[in-house]
Amino acid sequence: MIKKVLLASLAGLMLSSPATRAADTMDPALREKARRAVDGGLHYLRGQQQPDGSVLNSVGITALSLRAFLESHRGYNEGDGAFITKQVEYLLSKVNDDGSICESLQNRAYNTAVALNALAATKNPKYADVIAGGRKFLLGHQIDEAEGYKPDHRYYGGIGYGGDERPDMSNTYLALEGLKAAATDPKDPVWQRAMVFVSRSQNRSESNDQSWAGNDGGFVYMPGWNPPEFANGTNSYGGMTAAGLISLLFAGTDKNDPRVQAAYQWMTTNYTLDVNPGTDTKHGLFYFYNAYAKVMAAYGVDEFVDGKGQKRNWRNEFAAKLVSLQNPDGSWVNKESNKWWEDKPQLVTAWSVIALEQVLK
């Protein structure tokens, strides 16, 4: 009897652990390859650390690298040595009086958001004040009445790079991710305000009051505009649809909400890992991979039928794709586009490792 109870408890524990859920639908051989790819990526990142702990002298890339280590299947933490603690120290050395965590004028909100994720991933209560300061900075950076914008303005609720007030879907998603990592109260008005901006970036006229809005359920970079690199007007594309969908989930929007359903439908219908979906280009491809893995893991459905009626298992296909793109030195880089820093292997490797960690969850 005791044996039966123990076995049942063990089985229950295994079924409830995220690793087991991933393992349930994932090819074990691919899972092993993905783990090795993560190890290779982390090895590469470790070799890229400067004596001050930074990677490329960038708070953003260092924070992503740190997060990649802390969230890996290896379970690294600050007790593992200087390759972790020096990265933390570098981030802490870039905390500014206004709460932002950034080495320069550029990308203050972006850097602060990814640094919050990394510092929160340490699970070290020592950084609570820094995290609170960063949260305050991001909250203050949201476009709202404090900056003279009314709710009917297309910028309202959005968050931009940080040096200006031009918001976009990408930075808004990263800021929301940072705010979530910083344990921001789910009832804080920041989420509702953000949802105004997020809804206005979705091609769904039922919930988007902008005149340009279409109805395919995907997302654009910012209300009424996409980067000129895509030359696709206000058509939805993969990177932003993943960012939009995960923003909805971060804000606690129910999975049955029609905005969530429409975005998920777009993701599955337009599924491809060869280009940034919805475009013919590889611009922002690894950004898409990173956001895609996060949102699919958060959405919690492993198998779906794509727009061509083909059954897909995203964990298997995603792992196989990233493993195939890894360089012999363990790094990843976008060989076909230098847009948005994707020619920097340090950044792309950190993104890819984090993405694979989502697959392995």
């Binding site: 550029q106 003279g148 303005h153 847009k339």
Partner: protein, 260 residues
Amino acid sequence: MTATSAATDGPESGSATVASRPIFGSLAAFGLTALLLISAMGAYSSDLQGSARLVLVTSVVAVLSPLFWPGRAATARSTAWRALGWSFAASTLAAVAILGVGGAQGLASACSTLLLICITTLGVAAWTESLLARRGLDSAAARNASAWLATAMLVITGAAPLWLGPAAELAAVERPRALAAVVAMSPLTHLAIAGGNDLLRNQWFYQHSNLSGLRFDYPRLMPVLAGYAAVSLALVGVPAMARSRRTRVSNSTSSKEQVP
């Protein structure tokens, strides 16, 4: 567009009172044009963030400054004082235009940078005017040509991230610092970093510059200001001091000769 009758004023001619009218006239025209242009370009639109407004106002004032400046004076020393005074007036004009809509963080820093940019630009204008005059151009033509040349120089270097961006992107494959170099050479960048604005990620630049999606670093403000100060000193200060020294030496020689 430049004032035409101020080049001959100076302590020697005793015509400062006569020359002050066109200077103040030019100043008034400068102020009015700048304010109209600033408004027309949407500086007071509620869509524009404070730091972008600083960049817009200071850059418009910087570009107009050499076009309206009355040209060099009779002596290098007077020219130096005129350039300083005109630059100070330009900076004050920008500050007033910003303060008119409630001010902005970074105002002092942006106006100080504008002051140095104006002194440098006017120094270039004065030097070019002197060069053209020595080549036989009449004073009014030399003044106009130098004003336009200085303005063109400012606009071309200011817009470098736009027109040199694609070349920098190609060069960056082998020389990654090419991107930062192109960004750093623009006076518009200098005004932006002084005003706390992430210039290339502003809506307009994000749409029109290829650099916005690439990795580059903005220059630090203090070395930029030091650079402007050094160039200003070379273009405006050194000639004025050299002339004063020559005058003192000449006076001293004359007085010695008078000793019986």
